[in-house]
C-alpha cells in the first residue's frame, strides 16, 4: 500500500512545477531576444522587483476583472487537486482488490474529491467568470461592492487549506518523522484526511475522533461565508448597477442566471453554516443535535440536503446561462424563447428548495411525505426540459460554425440530456431504493459535473479568450481537446451508469472481478479526461504569450448576425483606444499552408521512375541506413524486454543458405534494410496511398511490418504477443519515417545548393 499523502503531494508538486516552467518558457520565448541572452544582475533585480510589485497588485486589487481572474485561477487549482484525487480513485479501481490504496485511503479520496470539486472548484470558477464579464455585460463600471468582492475571494484560499489540511499535515509528518521521534510529532501523525463521505453523515461524522473533521467543518463554514458575501454582491450589482438601456426584459441570460444562482445561494448557504456549527458543537461540546438519542442523524440529513439540493442548481445554472449566451453566437441565430428560459430559471430556483428529501428516500421519512417529494422531483425536470428544447430550437437550421466553443456546447447539451433523464429515474422512489447506493448515481451526476458544467466553463474560456488576453488560443488544439473531453466523459460515465445498473455498489475500493474490464475502460476514459484538461491548461498558458494577436475588434464576426453584445462593445472601445484599431470588420485571413495536391515525381518529375531511382540510389542508401538504425532501436528493445526472440534472425541466414547464425542473419537484415527495401520503396511509392512521401513511407512500413510479424512470430502469448506486435509495427514505422524523411532532407539540401 503506497503512502497516499506523499504520492499525491509529489504529483501535485510536479504538476505545479511543469505549469510554472511552461509559463516562464513561453514568456521567455515570446520576448524579443536581448543582447547575449545572459541574465545580468541588474536584470535579475529588476525582475524580482517587478515580481514584488505584481504580487502586491494582485493581493490588493479590487478591480472586478482581476478578482475574476483570481477566482478562475483558484478554481482551476482546486480542480487539479480534486482531479488528482479522482485519478487516484480510478487507479485503485483498475483491479478488484484494494491493493493499490487501502480501503481507508480510498474512502478519504472520494470524500475529499467530492468536497474539493463541489465546493472549491465549480462555484469559484463561475464566480470568477461572473466577476469578469457580468459587469461588462450589464454595462457597470465594477461590482457593487468592490472591497467586499476582494474579501469574499480571499476567504477562499484559507478555507481550502483548512479543508485539505489533513494532506498537508500528513506530508509534513512524513518529512518530520525522518528527523524526529514519533512522540514529538504526535500532532502530525494524528491528523489525516477525512474519510466519512462528502455528505458528512451523522453519527459517523460525530463519533470519529479524527481532528481533521473539525478543521474541515471550519473550512467549509468559511467558504460558505465567502459564497454568501459573493452572492450578495452579484445580486446588488445586477439590481443597481445596470447601465441605461439594460432592463429586466433584455438582461442577458448569463446575468439572469448569476442573479438566480446568487439568490439560491443566499438562502441555502447560511443554513449549511448553521448545520456545520451544530455538528462542530456535537463533536466538541457535547451537544446532541445529531446524536442517536438526541435530535437524531436524520436531522442532519434534512439540514444537509436542504442546502445540498439547491446547491446542485447553484452549480449548474451558471452553466446553462453560459450555454444560452454562447450557443446563439455560433449558430448565427438569436436565442429562441428568451422569456421561457428566464421563467424556467426562476421556476427552478423556487422548486429547488422543495425537493431535498429525494436524497433521503432510503431513510425513515414518512411515506406520504416521500410521495409528495417524488412528485415535485419529477416536476422539476420540466423547466430543464424547456431549456433543452429552446437550445435545440436555436440550433435548428442555424448556420453552424464548427469551432471549439460550439463543439463544447453541443457536447454539453448531450451530457445534460443523459445526465438529466437518468436523474428523473432516480426521483422515482422504488428505482432510487434500488440504485441510490450504486455507480448508477455516480454516472448520473458526473454526466452533469463532468459534462455541461466544465464544458461550458471551457467553452467560455475559448469564446472570451480574445477579450481576456487580446490573443487567440491555438484553435486546432482547442477543437481536439474539446472532442477529447466529450469522448472521455461519455465513455467513463456511461460505463459507470451501466455497471451501476447491474448493481455494482459505489464508494467501495473492492469489487467483484467480473466488473474488472468495465472498470478498466472507465479508468482509461478518465485518464483521457485528465489529459484533455491538461491540454486546455497548456493552451491557455502558452497562447497568452504566443497566440496570434487578435486583428479585429469583432473576432467572432458577431456584427454579421447582430449579436455584438456589450462585452464585445467594451472590447472594441478598448482596442480602438489602445491600438487605434478600426472598429469596422477587417477581412480576417487565416494563415495556412497549401500543400500541392498532385502526386510528385521523385526529382520534380524529371525522367522515368527508374532513372530517378538510379540517380538517387546513394541518397536512398543513406536514408535506408538511418531508417534501419532507428528500427534497430525498436527491435532491440523488443529483444531486451523479451517479446522478440533473437533466434528468429538465424532463420534469415538459413533462408539464404548461410547456416543458422543469428549474427549473419542480423547483418543480412541490416543490408536489406539499407539497400533492398529502400529501392523497393522508391519504385513503388507512387502506387501507394498517401499524398506525401512520409505518408507513403508509413503505408509501406505497415505492409512490410505485416509480413515481418508473421515471419518472425515465435509463439508469443498474451501480453508478450501484444508487445511483439506493437514493437514490430512501431519499429517499422520508425523505419518508414526515417527513410522518407532522410531522403527528403537530403534532397532538400541538394535543391537548396542547386538553387
Amino acid at each position: 500500500m503506497m503512502n497516499r499523502a506523499v504520492i499525491e503531494g509529489s504529483a501535485l508538486a510536479v504538476l505545479a512545477l511543469s505549469i510554472l516552467t511552461i509559463w516562464f518558457r513561453a514568456r521567455y520565448k515570446a520576448r524579443p531576444a536581448s543582447d547575449g541572452g545572459y541574465l545580468t544582475r541588474e536584470e535579475l533585480q529588476f525582475e524580482l522587483g517587478r515580481l514584488q510589485d505584481e504580487a502586491l497588485r494582485w493581493l490588493t486589487t479590487t478591480n472586478h476583472r482581476e478578482i475574476g481572474i483570481l477566482y478562475i485561477a483558484f478554481g482551476t487549482i482546486a480542480a487539479l487537486w480534486g482531479g488528482m484525487d479522482a485519478m487516484m480513485l480510478r487507479t485503485e479501481l483498475l483491479t478488484p482488490p484494494a491493493d493499490i490504496w487501502t480501503p481507508e485511503t480510498y474512502n478519504a479520496l472520494f470524500t475529499t474529491h467530492g468536497l474539493t470539486m463541489l465546493i472549491f472548484f465549480v462555484l469559484p470558477v463561475f464566480f470568477g467568470i461572473g466577476n469578469y464579464f457580468l459587469p461588462l455585460l450589464i454595462g457597470a463600471d465594477d461590482m457593487a461592492f468592490p472591497r467586499v468582492n476582494a474579501i469574499g475571494f480571499w476567504l477562499l484560499p484559507p478555507a481550502l487549506l483548512m479543508a485539505r489540511f489533513g494532506l498537508i499535515v500528513q506530508i509534513g509528518g512524513q518529512v518530520l518523522s525522518i528527523f524526529l521521534p514519533d512522540d514529538q510529532i504526535m500532532f502530525f501523525l494524528s491528523l489525516r484526511e477525512v474519510s466519512v463521505g462528502w455528505t458528512l453523515y451523522a453519527p459517523l461524522s460525530v463519533v470519529q475522533p479524527n481532528p481533521q473533521i473539525d478543521l474541515l467543518l471550519l473550512g467549509l463554514h468559511l467558504s460558505g461565508i465567502a459564497t454568501t458575501v459573493g452572492a450578495i454582491n452579484f445580486i446588488a450589482t445586477v439590481i443597481y448597477e445596470r447601465a441605461d438601456g439594460v432592463t429586466w426584459g433584455n438582461l442577458d441570460i448569463f446575468s439572469w442566471n448569476m442573479l438566480v444562482t446568487s439568490s439560491i445561494a443566499l438562502f441555502a448557504f447560511p443554513l449549511l453554516g448553521s448545520a456545520l456549527v451544530m455538528l462542530l458543537l456535537d463533536r466538541n461540546l457535547g451537544t446532541t443535535f445529531f446524536a442517536t438519542e438526541g435530535g437524531g442523524p436524520v436531522l442532519w440529513q434534512h439540514l444537509f440536503w436542504f442546502w445540498g439540493h439547491p446547491e446542485v442548481y447553484i452549480l449548474f445554472l451558471p452553466a446553462t446561462g453560459l450555454m444560452s449566451l454562447i450557443l446563439p453566437k455560433f449558430v448565427g441565430r438569436k436565442l429562441f424563447g428568451y422569456q421561457f428560459i428566464v421563467y424556467s430559471t426562476l421556476g427552478l430556483a423556487v422548486m429547488s428548495f422543495g425537493v431535498w428529501a429525494h436524497h433521503m428516500f432510503t431513510s425513515g421519512v414518512d411515506p406520504r411525505l416521500k410521495a409528495s417529494f417524488m412528485a415535485i422531483s419529477i416536476a422539476i425536470a420540466v423547466p430543464s426540459a424547456i431549456k433543452v428544447f429552446n437550445w435545440l430550437t436555436t440550433m435548428w437550421d442555424g448556420d453552424i460554425k464548427l469551432s471549439a466553443p460550439f463543439i463544447l456546447c453541443a457536447g454539453g447539451i448531450g451530457t445534460f440530456i443523459i445526465g438529466g433523464v437518468t436523474g428523473v429515474f432516480l426521483a422515482v422512489i422504488p428505482i432510487d431504493i434500488l440504485y441510490h447506493g450504486t455507480y448508477y448515481v455516480v454516472g448520473h451526476f458526473h454526466l452533469i459535473v463532468v459534462g455541461i458544467i466544465p464544458m461550458l466553463m471551457i467553452a467560455s474560456s475559448y469564446y472570451w479568450y480574445p477579450i481576456l488576453t487580446g490573443r487567440w488560443y491555438d484553435r486546432r488544439l482547442a477543437k481536439f481537446q474539446s472532442g477529447l473531453l466529450i469522448v472521455g466523459a461519455f465513455v467513463t460515465f456511461m460505463i459507470l451508469l451501466v455497471i451501476g445498473g447491474m448493481g455494482l455498489p459505489r464508494r467501495q475500493a473492492i469489487y467483484p472481478p467480473e466488473y474488472q474490464l468495465a472498470q478498466q475502460m472507465a479508468t482509461v476514459g478518465s485518464y483521457v479526461i485528465g489529459l484533455s484538461a491538461v491540454m486546455w491548461l497548456y493552451n491557455m498558458l502558452v497562447s497568452y504569450w504566443r497566440g496570434d494577436v487578435v486583428q479585429s475588434t469583432d473576432p467572432w464576426n458577431l456584427k454579421a448576425t447582430n449579436q455584438f453584445t456589450r462585452e464585445w462593445q467594451w472590447f472594441e472601445e478598448r482596442m480602438v483606444e489602445k491600438y487605434d484599431m478600426e472598429p469596422a470588420q477587417p477581412e480576417t485571413t487565416r494563415r495556412s499552408y497549401a500543400p500541392e495536391l498532385e502526386p510528385m515525381g521523385l526529382l520534380g518529375g524529371v525522367g522515368s521512375v527508374a532513372q530517378n531511382v538510379y540517380r538517387n540510389a546513394s541518397m536512398a542508401a543513406v536514408a535506408g541506413f538511418i531508417g534501419t538504425f532507428l528500427m534497430t532501436g525498436g527491435i532491440g528493445t523488443a529483444i531486451v524486454i523479451g517479446v522478440l526472440d533473437p533466434a528468429s534472425f538465424a532463420e534469415i541466414s538459413e533462408l539464404v543458405g548461410l547456416g543458422t547464425s543469428a549474427i549473419i542473419g542480423a547483418a543480412l537484415f541490416l543490408a536489406g534494410g539499407t539497400i533492398i527495401w529502400p529501392l523497393l520503396f522508391l519504385s513503388f511509392q507512387e502506387f501507394l496511398p498517401g499524398r506525401r512521401m512520409f505518408e507513403t513511407g508509413l503505408v509501406f512500413a505497415t505492409l512490410v511490418a505485416t509480413g515481418f510479424s508473421v515471419a518472425f512470430y515465435t509463439d508469443q502469448q498474451g501480453l508478450a504477443f501484444v508487445g511483439y506486435l506493437t514493437f514490430v509495427f512501431v519499429a517499422h514505422w520508425a523505419y518508414g519515417l526515417g527513410l522518407a524523411v532522410t531522403f527528403q532532407f537530403l534532397r532538400s539540401r541538394r535543391t537548396d545548393m542547386g538553387a
Binding site: 500500500m1 503506497m2 503512502n3 487507479t91 483498475l94 482488490p97 484494494a98 493499490i100 487501502t102 480501503p103 481507508e104 491528523l191 489525516r192 470519529q208 475522533p209 479524527n210 481532528p211 486546432r476 477543437k479 481536439f480 472532442g483 477529447l484 469522448v487 478498466q520 479508468t523 482509461v524 476514459g525 485518464y527 483521457v528 489529459l531 484533455s532 495556412s592 499552408y593 500543400p595 500541392e596 520534380g604 528493445t637 524486454i641 523479451g642 499524398r691 506525401r692 512521401m693 512520409f694 505518408e695 501480453l719 508478450a720 501484444v722 508487445g723 506493437t726 514493437f727 512501431v730 524523411v741 527528403q744 532532407f745 534532397r747 532538400s748 535543391t751 537548396d752 542547386g754 538553387a755
Partner: protein
C-alpha cells in the same frame, strides 16, 4: 480544412491520447508492482480495535455466544504491537506486520481482553500485495512514449510537410 490532413491533425493525436491513457493505466500500477516490496508493507492486514465503552455499547445485551475471546498475553508479538498502536490511533486502526497466528479468529471479529477490559477487534482490510505481469510496466511506458508522439503528430506533420515542400522547390 481540406488542405490539412485529418488523419494527422485529429485522428493520430486522438489515438495517441488513447494509447497514453492505456499506457498510464498499465505503467503506473505496473511500476508500483515492481517497487512495492521496497516501499510498502503489503500483505499485512489492518485491524480495528474498539475501546471498552464502544465494545459494551456495540453488544449491549445481545452478545453472540460464538464470539471468541482472546487474551492480550497470548497474542503474538506483532499482534500485540498492532493492538497497542490501534488503541493509540485516532481512528483506532493499525497494521499487523509479522506473525498473525490468530488471524482467522480476529478476521471474523473477536473480543480481546487487555488489562481486564474487553476490546472488540476485527480485520478491516487485508491490504493484499498488488500483482501485475512483468511486461506490464515496460509496455506501459512504451505506450506512453508512443502515444505522446501521436499527440505531437500535428506539429510534426507540419514540419515534415515543410521539409517536403522545400525538397520540391527547384
Amino acid at each position: 480544412m481540406s488542405d490539412e490532413s485529418i488523419l494527422f491533425t485529429y485522428i493520430a493525436p486522438f489515438v495517441g491520447v488513447l494509447v497514453v491513457a492505456v499506457g498510464i493505466g498499465a505503467a503506473v500500477p505496473g511500476g508500483y508492482a515492481i517497487i512495492q516490496e521496497d516501499i510498502t508493507t503489503c500483505d499485512s492486514p489492518t485491524v480495528a480495535v474498539e475501546g471498552p465503552e464502544e465494545t459494551t455499547e456495540r453488544f449491549n445485551e445481545s452478545r453472540p455466544r460464538t464470539l471468541p475471546t482472546l487474551y492480550y498475553e497470548n497474542l503474538s508479538e506483532a499482534e500485540q504491537t498492532a493492538f497497542d498502536e490501534a488503541l493509540a490511533d485516532p481512528i483506532g486502526e493499525a497494521r499487523v506486520t509479522g506473525d498473525f497466528p490468530n488471524g482467522d479468529t480476529i478476521r471474523n471479529g473477536s473480543i480481546i481482553v487487555y488489562e481486564g477490559e474487553e476490546h472488540y477487534a476485527t480485520v478491516v482490510a487485508e491490504n493484499p500485495c498488488f500483482v501485475a505481469p512483468e511486461l506490464q510496466f515496460p509496455l506501459g511506458v512504451f505506450a506512453i512514449i508512443f502515444g505522446v508522439i501521436g499527440i505531437l503528430s500535428p506539429p510534426i506533420y507540419r514540419k515534415l510537410v515543410e521539409l517536403e515542400e522545400r525538397a520540391n522547390v527547384e
